[in-house]
Amino acid sequence: MFSIKPLKPTLKSCVPPLQPDMKKAPQLTIRKLEAKLLPGEIVVSEVNFVRKCMGTGCSQDDLWGKLICTNFKVSFVSHEVLDRQVFQYRNRLLGDHDVPLACVEQLVTVNEAKGKQKVLLSNRKLKFSPTELVLYCKDLRVLRFRFDEAGPESSRKVCLAIAHYAQPTDPRLLFGFEYVGKLYRPPAGEHGGRLQTPLFICPSDWDREVKRTGATEWRVCSVNEGYAVSPSLPEHFVVPASLADQDLKQLSCSFVGQRLPLWCWNHLNGSALVRTAGIRDVAEQRKLEQRVCNAITKSHPKRSSAHKVHLDRSLPSIRDVRASFVRLRQLCAIGPYQESEDKWLSSVESTGWLDNVRAFLQQSVEVVYMLEGKHVSVILQEEEDRDLSCVISCLVQLMLDPHFRSLVGFQSLVQKEWVMGGHRFLDRCNHLKRSEGEESPMFLLFLDCVWQLMRQHPAAFEFTEIYLAVLCDSMWIPVFSTFLFNCPRQWAEYSQDFTQSGQQGEDRAVRFPPVWDWSQQFSLRDQTLFNSPMYVGKGVAARVQNGGVRTFRRAKPKIYSSMVRGTASMQNGVLGAHATLPRRNSLVLRLLSGSETPAQPDSPDSASQCFVRDWLSRPADPHGLLLPELLPSHLQLWRFYFLRWVSEARIARGGPITALHRLSLLVDEIETLQARLRQYGGTSTPPGLPPGSPDPGLTHRMPSEQSKMYFKTGPLAGPPQQPEYLSSSFPFSPVGNLSRPSTLGTPLSKLLSGAGL
């Protein structure tokens, strides 16, 4: 009853998902149409002879295969295999056509003949046999399956199974529990060097961070051990040195969620960034605020009083953010392509997404100004301190501290402010489909803000936009501790359950893997897609990591001064300037500070605006303070993320990746040369070569795994060729379209066939 069609031999490399780097040679296997299952994964329901619709147009490109629902994913396996050459990167947990159940936003069943359509919810009945199933995914994909040739009963069963499993009611039903219970071992120690990201579970991680930032008047407290004080705070965190544990316990009762003020970061001028929840007891409010503020003031070297920012008042709410995201998703991924073309700009505007991005960046700049410009500590206050403050504190730290712009630094930042900060990932992702009201794409919003910064300052970040997108997608793979829980305590509790029920009786507590263990998802080679070739000067970041505390100041541009000068000359403006001179707008400050303050024709310039202008007037230093330009014309839609699945919007052999490709090759070449140089250094110090051994410079043992770049220079000399498969959505692909050879013209011919021109 399985496959009546002749099976084609396939060239699929069978890399077992959990054996990192034990790649077997691609094997020629006769494959049955079966889902590849992860440990702990079981098939729930399946149906054969399903057609997966490719693209939006004609059906001739559709793939035939089997649709399978497991307890983890919706899987589609086909006889026809996508060309590996084209499909360059793969996720170890998911096949090319797979969607994790947690990623399914909505599922719609259609019966064309009866003209019926139904949004399928868990435990609902389906009275008709579907001819079509449409999956709307949280990562903005839209997948269509047709059941014309499939058995009506099994089609119906599969749809119901997906609906049921996609909407679990208890966290324990999330696949992570099956998966982790069976297999996960945390990588041993520093071996492989892949898990350098501190998780901020143990006090030493906090301690290192306190030392790194030179926060001498702050201490790591363990008052919340066993989550005795607050359920949503981590067990260890940092508080003003002047507050004793006893004070903390006493204070905690008055805060929403018993969330004590939480230290985030210290500026080297001594100003601190602190986040705190609201105070429940209105009567006590003043007194308490005073106490907390005093303690923070005491921790400031100049004893200057702290500045409080009420995030709830100045920022869009999580509901606003969700609403704008829903509109944007509709526009970018779901709505018809041609219809939105005419009013595209105003449609994007009316989603309000970019306004939200701007509001958060703007607020962060204000905070940066207080810390950097006015040398005062800042307290971010939000009612619950678990959403808006995660975004703002992270953005502020990214702008001020170059350490967080390295890959490991960024991960530690997310771990510290989001995971340990108690962002309700479980609720915000709505993994349990409980309440729509709690769902909100705050983390995506944050990543979008990071992308805006990165777009404006490409040399300042160690990672690429591919990394940001992959990180965002990982939220929908429910196996990572990072995104699975509402707070550290929940994570600890569920981990505990496991050790107690421990089927294997291991002495070691089984943990959920953090998403930072990227080998769970990708090979080392694929992970190099995260590294940006534009990042300059790892040296500084390294120094910061070593505990040196004086590096995140704006350094004098040295080697890169010519780059900066080039930047200035691109300005071509009347007011443009040479990098050697303080640039044009430092004038602003002078004008304003002078006795004759000119009438400001446009806006009343606040001090922080002057601060920004003054900064903009100077050449940017990738290792110094970074500020975003906030003119509405300078914020853009994150096309790569939002349009990556839209085949019509895909620029074949174009897009920013083509520039990245060129840069990567060059960086790779430089790395190779450096490695070679080290070798020569090594081999030439002992005089002469051991006789008989070939010159090490000749044999190719450039350890290619060490290369940080995905694109490498080939063995052939000559101008490097750009791979055909590059496109503006690489490494993602509007699946299907890419797998066909004749696709170059597809979107074009559709465009040319008349519509919309």
Binding site: W344, E349, N572, R613, L689, P719, L748, L757
Partner: protein
């Protein structure tokens, strides 16, 4: 009247004069300024520049026959405003003399700026206001003066007027061949006075017939070849509208001519005629004797309208855009305000038209005829953009110059009229940002294919800056014939002389030359963006993005250094080995750095 003094300050102000295009010119201009008498130069102290961003700034203003130069030395660093007077399209006195005895002047510029100055002015004094001088020098044509380009005598190592040689370019395309011949019929510009002297026409159409075809085409602009596909022989040909009129006139010769164009391509038995206009406008042209080809008269031809609007619509759109982007950008409704200018929509239609042409030629292997009404505005945009997509040569620094020289300058885009060089009449209905749109389209393509163009954004901005500056002769006059009459190649300097003398500044280091790579940009509002680096460059709240290619240059330098070191070490090792065991002497020498290109 500090003549030489002001001239000196122009030269020595190099470090603080901040406009790079002008800046980099200064080193040449130092010579110019001294050899060309600057007796027209006038300086006035105590002028206030009312900056829309920074407020009032007091300083001195110098006006010469080339530039307007404002500086404020009280400030540290000095504030400098430096622009060629050619960029000014209008000088207007704003209001009456104020109580403080100040008059206010507004300068409307062609490069999306408005400048406002105020200065003290005594009534009844014999001295003219300095702005009357601006009025004089900014509009030499209206004042019967010579354009500054004729004064500018800077020698450059290369003569840019020689960049484009039509015969060489056609030879590069493989012309003439058995189906196409090069004709000198227009040598004296009597077939068509706005066409170049050298034309490529179907081989079987004799010169006498061309004149009869010309009689049927508006302004005598007959269908001639612009580009031929090296493999399929499909061609891009351009012309003006046929003079069909209300009665539906026909011309045997014209029909034969188009048939010959179709026959010259054996791959296809069809011919596509792309009429750039919206169908309504094309039909309306019949009232004025023009119109479009009927498919009855032209067998096997298919007519497609591309819906691109005329020069007046485009001018209006740019005016609206200027309102939206200068001086300040409204914080809210930015995108819908931008949308309401329709600027990007026009860009999209032009690019979409060019894309359809390129696709017909490349994928359809079919020859195309492109025209609008007169065939010198939209037609130039479409043919040149299609050629840019089809032929990698035009994406090189020099190839692009050839493209502009060929499709725009030699085929008579009326730069003088469209830009209004030196002409006071700023309301002239013939002005239109047609060429700016073309450059904008090119920029959009460079955004989508960052490694496919040899030139960079700075190159495009420089072209636009000198489109207005009147420093070079390149964009003066309306046609090849006029340029020769004026003897421009002898009497003026070409912009390309300047550019090619320091081409590294204009080169995109990410460029990779992919042979026969046709570019298909995605023509969608999703990917089109406003060229902030050009339209919003005056805003001090904008900082140019750190260009990738600067980083790339750094890396190139680093690589070179490393290669040098590696080679040194290799030599050292080789030396040592050569001393020790002689049988191994050969091997290290054979280990060059494989990766070096």
């Amino acid at each position: 009247m500090e003549k030489s003094g002001s001239a000196d300050s122009l030269g020595s102000k190099r470090s603080s004069s901040r406009q790079p295009s002008v800046d980099s010119l200064t080193r040449y201009r130092c010579v110019t300024v001294t050899c060309v008498s600057l007796c027209h130069g006038v300086a006035a102290s105590d002028v206030t520049y009312i900056c829309p961003f920074l407020g009032a700034i007091r300083g001195s203003l110098t006006v010469t026959n080339y530039r307007l130069f404002f500086k404020c030395l009280d400030k540290d660093p000095a504030f400098v405003l430096d622009l060629p007077v050619g960029v000014i399209s209008r000088v207007e006195k704003i209001g009456a003399i104020s109580a403080q005895g100040e008059v206010s002047f507004g300068l409307v510029c062609k490069d999306i700026r408005n400048l406002r100055f105020a200065h003290r002015y005594q009534e009844g004094s014999l001295k003219k206001s300095i702005f009357e001088l601006v009025n004089k020098f900014a509009f030499p044509v209206s004042n019967a003066l010579r354009m500054f380009a004729f004064e500018y005598g800077q020698p450059f190592p290369e003569n840019g007027w020689k960049v484009y040689d039509p015969l060489a370019e056609y030879k590069r395309q493989g012309l003439p061949n058995e189906s196409w011949r090069i004709t000198k019929a227009n040598e004296h510009y009597d077939v068509c006075e706005t066409y170049p002297a050298t034309l490529v026409v179907p081989a079987n159409i004799p010169d006498e017939e061309l004149k009869r075809v010309a009689a049927f085409r508006a302004k005598g602009r007959i269908p001639v070849l612009s580009w031929i596909h090296p493999e399929t022989q499909a061609t891009v040909t351009r012309c003006s509208q046929p003079m069909v009129g209300v009665n539906g006139k026909r011309s045997k010769e014209d029909e034969k001519h188009l048939q010959a164009i179709m026959d010259a391509n054996a791959q296809s038995h069809k011919l596509f005629i792309f009429d750039a206009r919206p169908p309504v406008n094309a039909a309306a042209n019949k009232m004025k004797g023009g119109g479009f080809e009927s498919e009855d008269a032209y067998q096997n031809a298919e007519l497609v309208f591309l819906d691109i609007h005329n020069i007046h619509v485009m001018r209006e759109s740019l005016r609206k855009l200027k309102e939206v982007v200068y001086p300040n950008i409204e914080e809210s409704h930015w995108l819908s305000n931008l949308e309401s200018t329709h600027w990007l929509e026009h860009i999209k239609l032009i690019l979409a038209g060019a894309l359809r042409i390129a696709d017909k030629v490349e994928s359809g292997k079919t020859s195309v005829v492109v025209h609008c009404s007169d065939g010198w505005d939209r037609t130039a945009q479409l043919s040149s953009l299609a050629m840019l997509m089809l032929d990698g040569f035009y994406r090189t620094l020099r190839g692009f110059q050839v493209l502009v020289e060929k499709e725009w300058l030699s085929f008579g885009h009326r730069f003088q009229l469209r830009i209004g060089h030196g002409d006071r009449n700023h309301t002239d209905a013939d002005r239109s940002p047609v060429f700016l749109q073309f450059i904008d389209c090119v920029w959009q393509m460079t955004r989508q294919f960052p490694a496919a163009f040899e030139f960079n954004e700075f190159f495009l901005i420089t072209i636009l800056d000198h489109l207005y500056s009147c420093l070079f002769g390149t964009f003066l006059c309306n046609s090849e014939q006029q340029r020769l009459e004026e003897d421009l190649p002898k009497r003026t300097v070409s912009l390309w002389s300047y550019i090619n003398s320091q081409h590294e500044e204009f080169t995109n280091p990410l460029y990779v030359d992919y042979a026969n790579h046709v570019l298909y940009p995605v023509v969608s509002m999703r990917h089109l963006e406003l060229w902030v680096g050009y339209y919003i460059r005056w805003n001090p709240r904008m900082r140019p993005q750190e260009p990738l290619h600067q980083h790339y240059r750094e890396l190139l330098a680093k690589r070179a250094e490393l290669q040098r070191k590696v080679e040194e070490l290799q030599r050292e090792v080789a030396g040592r080995v050569a001393v020790a065991p002689p049988e191994k002497a050969g091997s290290p020498a054979g280990s060059p750095v494989q990766t070096c290109v």
